[in-house]
Amino acid sequence: MNRLEQEQQHLVTVTLNGVSRSGRAETRTLLSDFLRHELGATGTHVGCEHGVCGACTVRIDGVAARACLTLAVQVDGRRVDTVEGLADRDGMLNDLQQAFRRSHALQCGFCTAGILNSCTDFLERVPMPTEQQVRDMLSGHLCRCTGYTPIVAAVLEVAAARQTQPEETIDA
């Protein structure tokens, strides 16, 4: 059991995109605010703050989840992956990001970080999804620019490409 007092700053350490990072959080600090304000990881966007819009979706221990419905103190000691971790260290976009760019799957980009995180988790579990499965997964995200069609196309394209060219193992 671990008890954290209210209205005090508590040390929270996470493995953010493979790097150990620490910051301070009150018990009531949301993970979305902790990432942006405390760790400076502003790639995670904040929209509705009640779990509907999907903009703040990150991966916690690999699983896509809303950062706005997670307390920072809940992820102490866990792995958190955000959009900043998708491209490689030289800034080369990964295959999913490149497909989004080719397919015009984003315009303003506000929703994109969350969608990329959902797609990353989803494609690991469902490597060859149907269009309907992709649309069901995307129903957890609001995009007001694209009409979703180019996003669906990008996801299906990546899924197909990964079948013919298995992703190289990049974990060191």
Binding site: L4, Q6, E49, A64, R66, L71, Q74, G140
Partner: protein, 280 residues
């Protein structure tokens, strides 16, 4: 849209949760997946003094088959049940209902017990528990008690849980041979709260039919194996019994209409879904 302050206590076991609940009662709230609770905290519709976070309690994170039931612990996520390879054979109704529950990203963190404990009248997991006559295990320092779903759900967001009790596990009966199931709901958009949700289980003995989103809790009716006009009449009687009300999403008359239409469809689907005797 930020929560008010609270004390945060990370809980590792049912015993720890019960000790805290015994001490603090209504001042403490269990935080499991947080997909409903953190929303209302952000909106400050709830301002508990203490959150008891069971989301990392390994002792409560289990899904297993025991005594002819699928037993789901308090910390087990909806995804951990939904992605079970055998779910469609074990509890086919749950496999049919899960895609209707909010979204992939929410089910990844939301818990089954949390949804049951929250008791939203339009929620799918309480509806399935009611239809299947499942059980809720409530634990406190005073001991454990097991309630049938019909006794547990008492009204809109109201249950038989006492302030010192933890919803420790829920138990969904496994499908019995010769029974077919069906689930369908109507909402404004996929993943939204159900305006009407219907579930049915049909076998040689008769029909069990349940409706969510209309009354203040999931409501179940047992019918003989009716068809045609007799089934329509029975569904109409049940639709009126639910005492539907007008709200900004749908009128009472429209809800009754949906109960009659979707009700007939799920009952017919469940009848067709009865596995053939040869097991083919």
């Amino acid at each position: 849209m930020k929560p008010a302050s609270f004390e945060y206590i990370r809980i590792d076991s049912a015993a720890e949760a019960c000790a805290q609940l015994a001490e603090h009662g209504e001042d403490a709230r269990i935080l499991a997946g947080g997909q409903s609770l953190v929303t209302v905290l952000n909106m400050r519709l709830a301002q508990p003094q203490r959150l008891l976070d069971i989301s990392r309690a390994k002792a409560l994170d289990y899904v297993r088959i025991d005594g002819g039931k699928l037993v789901i612990g308090a910390s087990a996520t909806q995804a951990s049940v939904e992605w079970r390879p055998g779910l469609a054979k074990e509890v086919p109704l749950l496999a049919l209902a899960f895609p209707n529950i909010s979204h992939f990203q929410i089910r990844n963190r939301g818990t089954v017990c949390g949804s049951v404990a929250h008791a939203d009248p339009s929620a799918e997991l309480p509806l399935c528990l009611a239809l299947l006559d499942g059980e809720v295990v409530l634990r406190s320092r005073r001991g454990a008690r097991v309630l049938k779903a019909g006794a547990f759900f008492q009204g809109m967001l109201m249950t038989a849980r006492q302030p010192d009790e933890l919803v420790e596990e829920v138990r969904y009966p496994l499908a019995s041979p010769g029974t077919g199931h069906a689930f369908e709901e109507f909402s404004s958009r996929h993943g939204d709260f159900a305006i009407v949700a219907c579930a049915a289980a049909v076998n040689g003995d008769g029909i069990r039919f349940a409706v969510g989103g209309v009354a203040d809790r999931p409501r179940v009716v047992t019918l003989p194996r009716l068809a045609g006009n007799a089934l329509d009449d029975a569904l109409n009687d049940f639709a009126w019994e639910l005492e539907a009300r007008d709200d900004p999403h749908a009128s009472a008359a429209y809800r009754r209409h949906l109960v009659r239409q979707i009700g007939r469809r799920v009952i017919e689907q469940a009848g067709r879904a009865i596995p053939s005797a040869g097991g083919h």
